[in-house]
Amino acid sequence: MKKETLKITANERLTHDAFAMTFEGCSRVKPGSFVELSLDGFFLARPFGAGDYSDGKLTVFYRVVGEGTEAMTSLKAGKEISALTGLGNGFRTERAKRPLLVGGGLGVAPLYYLAEDFASRGVRPTVVAGFRSARDVILRKEFAAISDIVVTTDDGTEGYCGNAVSYLKNNSVEYDYYYACGPTVMLKYLTEFDVKGEVSLEARMGCGFGACMGCSIMTRSGPKRVCKEGPVFDAAEVIL
């Protein structure tokens, strides 16, 4: 965990509501960890999963869901913002020999950095990435370069017609352990389908580092803070 000043180097629109913001000046962060970004005019910092990282350069992928993320879309390269980096536990990458990455919507973001991490160690993961519609699909090309990716859309406008979990149920995908991030309903069906994996959760947070108990969830092993003991939890542990 570090408090750092990050400099925006790019802020690009990916789809009608999704953006990628890239920073320089970030200390090394783990796949599955997150950062809290302090935005001018907002009291609380906003949490974002680490979407990509190398040599001090951090990328976060975000979707406009409220005033904070709306304000982020107008930030320009060169702007410096205060951030808490390296928050949360991160993915336990040592657990998989044949990793499966399951993402839903913007939930694919932290999985991209995870896929790169596997790729850097000579492991080519399988990725099932679900989106609502073709216009919501992000990172397809980038994933394809380092993984075997299947895209699914709820309306069938791109790839498999259905969601990521229904794809897994109807096709034989070879893996020994999965890593997932996405909407709660997706994670719920996924953990019911198979518990040999871990899921990254999101929550409205206060501090992001374990002080306020604002994001505490009840798990099968008692209350846990999404920001501190999480955001990544064993699939068998979460109650969704």
Partner: protein, 311 residues
């Protein structure tokens, strides 16, 4: 003693216990303390007010528990804590490894019996030099705030806790009342050793897209920078009304705020919500204090307690 800048005396005292400076992280914003040792050496803190503790473990309210506001935040945690037994046997032991000073245990409850039994649970905890009785938490059904708004109940509850506890008892007051001084006087009559204020102001935010309150239990407690003037006014009023030491809190985010609170009558100052947006908030305040004292011509911080009342 802190001597960051010349020989400024930042010490203050509460019930015979000397704090190296008046800065105390407020209950509920600092966990059980050790979480912050990952950011800096927390031994610099005057003391620490621990996360509100109840008799049994509590999970608290469903999520969302937090809503952002322009100059602060609303929280409705619902007193999540592991229960007094684990706080004493586990949390205080962990804290002792990273903090040498003594701390304030914050006691919550739903009934007289729960308050007194929880308070008694700290009797043999040497790490604790005082209790802070939370009779003002707006986020617990049938408890907390319900106890903090009726002077007669406050007086009786404080007397019952004093009976059960061997520690000095600080009563934490709610600002959600018509006459906070009357509540402070009631606490004093009940035998309180000190008063801390203000707890959070009741607040609500509504999501414009769904037209529903953001907080799961609808309302919560508003705190942060925006409440500071409200807090200064109430600290001033309460320190006029009672002869007890007062601990001021509410929106304190800088060394200047600490001095202002002490001018209003505070013997020590709690820093709360500021910790959640900057983990270094207390450290920065403590380090800024000597230079600010120099600027204001203050040699000894205890000299300024209540100075605004003589103006």
């Amino acid at each position: 003693m802190n001597t960051f800048c010349g020989n400024k005396d930042t010490r203050t005292e509460l019930f015979g216990y000397t704090l190296k400076n008046p800065v105390i992280p407020a209950s509920g914003t600092f966990g059980f303390g050790y979480e912050f040792a990952d950011w800096y050496d927390i031994d610099i803190l005057g003391s620490i007010s621990l996360k509100g503790t109840t008799l049994e473990a509590r999970y608290g309210n469903p999520l969302p528990r937090i809503a952002d506001c322009p100059a602060g935040l609303i929280n409705a945690i619902g007193l999540e804590n592991p229960g007094v037994e684990k706080v004493v046997s586990r949390e205080l032991v962990k804290l002792d490894k990273v903090y040498k000073g003594k701390v304030i245990a914050n006691v919550g409850g739903h009934s007289f019996e729960e308050y007194t039994r929880t308070a008694a649970g700290f009797n043999r905890a040497d790490k604790v030099f005082a209790l802070e009785l939370n009779i003002s938490c707006p986020n617990v059904k049938g408890g907390g705030l319900a106890f903090g708004t009726d002077p007669k109940v406050v007086e009786e509850l404080v007397a019952a806790v004093k009976e059960a506890s061997v520690k000095p008892v600080i009563v934490k007051l709610s600002p959600n009342v018509t006459d906070i001084a009357a509540l402070a006087k009631a606490a004093e009559r009940g035998g309180a050793d000190g008063i801390s204020l203000i707890n959070t102001l009741l607040g609500m935010r509504i999501d414009l897209r769904t037209a529903r309150p953001i907080i799961s239990v609808k309302r919560g407690g508003y705190s942060g920078k925006g409440v500071f003037p409200v807090a200064v006014n109430m600290v001033y009023a309460v320190s006029e009304a009672v002869a007890l030491p007062v601990i001021g809190m509410g929106g304190v985010s800088s060394a200047r705020d600490v001095v202002e609170m002490m001018y209003a009558g505070a013997s020590a100052v709690m820093v709360g919500t500021a910790n959640l947006v900057d983990p270094y908030a207390c450290k920065n305040i403590i380090e800024e204090l000597p230079a600010l004292m120099e600027e204001l011509g203050i040699d000894k911080l205890t000299d300024i307690i209540g100075r605004a009342h003589n103006a």
